[in-house]
Amino acid sequence: MSAPVLDVRSLSVEFESTLGTIHAVRDLSFSIGEGETLALVGESGSGKSTAAMALLRLIPNPPGRISSGAVLLAGRDLTALSEADLRGVRGREMAMIFQDPMMALNPVYTIERQIGEVLRLHLGLSKSEILAEVVELLRLVGVPAPEERARQYPHNLSGGMRQRVMIAMALACRPRLLIADEPTTALDVTVQAQVLDLIHGLKEKFGMAVLLITHDLGIVAETANRVVVMYAGRKVEEGTVGEIFADPRHPYTRGLLGAAKWEEADGDLLREIPGTVPSPFEMPSGCSFAPRCAEAIPLCRSAMPELKDVAPGRPVRCFLAEGRGHG
């Protein structure tokens, strides 16, 4: 594998609040290569979306800040860039699409203007070039009648079309990395399939790296190459899709998979993870998953396990992970 497109090293993000500091992301490292899709999986509050926002330095400051770590995009550390230089990266080398395409598009501007903005800013295209390029981009993402759609406003479009527009906007400068934050959660199943298909096809076509953020293991199974599982701000397990689904090593991953595979529990009760995600203000001592973990040993409640490779490229944050293969 050549040098990764994105290399995140020990990234930590904090938020100040009146009740204390929230460590939303702690010591997160991962990398994505060209043409690869990495899925960042976790429940709400796991820090996956915060991590994605931190990559583009879009964490509102105050109250949030990147407290440590580095984000290397093609070898360049984004955390060290000036705000102006950073703007040259955003939208050009690294683009992002969001969960709710209705909210993510400005309701008062036309599609053409919103996509065109990127083209003018980063590529310096002229007015007529912009229109042609916008139409081309819309065609690329499968928007029917692109000339007409370009002149319309977001509210004229359906949810799926809007997400296609978002993708077109993200792809306008052929970025090296596309961050897709829950890109299909707000869409219907049949449309979700269309959009995932589209992202996959475009990734192949342009050789982008894709960071897919999702809570849906079904989507992970269908689209990702590698998976990073997060819990309470930390990475708890990483591996290829095959490894994670076939051989989950962390009890949380196992719990998630169990809860997701409805069909395997035909007629019976599902395997459930008891309890709830801990509040960021009341993090348990020791392993943050310990209170919900059926297999926890006393050590789990007193010390936080480190990530340990159980196999090459297979780090797991669990005292019991080793020696437990294929359980």
Partner: protein
Amino acid sequence: MADGASRVASAGGAPILEVRELVKHYPIRGGLFSPSQMVHALDGVSLSVARGETLAVVGESGCGKSTLARCIIRLEQPTSGHILLKGADITVLAGRPLRELRRALQIVFQDPYASLNPRWSIASLIGDPMRLHGLAARGERRGRVASLLETVGLGPEFMDRYPHELSGGQRQRVAIARALAMQPEVIVCDEPVSALDVSIQAQVINLLKRLQRQFGIAYIFISHDLSLVKHISDRVAVMYLGQIVELAETRAARRRVLHPYSQALFSAAPVADPQAAAARKRIILAGDVPSPIEPPSGCRFHTRCPYRQDRCAREAPQLRAVEDRLVRCHFAGEPGFPPEVPA
């Protein structure tokens, strides 16, 4: 009519709740110069559910499944059609009889953050139904609330808390306890877990299943999550643009579906298994769901159907028995239809 199909159509045994040809149209107010329009939310939906049974209603947003739920528990007045509870027509009830009816028919909403009034304590939220229906004297009420909380897996210590102090899963348990307080025979579950975290969903689904076994409650389970539906339901109704397009036993539907829309829907649902995902072929439908204001002529699915014929645009298919189920398609039941692998 095939034997299996008749069983599917009218639920096993005597239905506790029956819906006949339910229609709901919403007017959209027109202007002075523009005619008013109608949203066809429901167009002739019929189904039934038996004691202790779970009937799932699936479909994408805008298919009318939530309207169906609200019509059934009489939060909205259907335009036409009938709703029968234990054989009695409850479509036109009002006032006291309607309130009596409420006891038997309850609902659990999708969003546990929105479905509990943040101003009241858990005890009064769960105690309200008892108070309103005189189910427990004032003195007994707290005891009853405590035991209901126990039933849904929460301790009595929750009684004096407020909804905002609870997690999503806990709130949904409270919502279920509130419905249970009426000792209902049918609960309409409107996407009860879709707002919850994955790890919590299983808890709530398990709770619902346990309660069903314990009290013999019938569920009408509205959802867009096909894998969940396949897991929990006994029968499944697939809706598209205000109509049921396929109604089958879940067991049978898991094997195969006959309507092209059901087929696309089921194939589009992601499966949490990379190998299976890689192996299977997905049908990716073109376009979006058409507007329910002006539904397509003929078969409502024809604009997106990969197998459409000229006839589909002209002639509206009826819901008819095909093999062991009901299907609304001209060609269902023909040999090799729908094809296993799309063209």
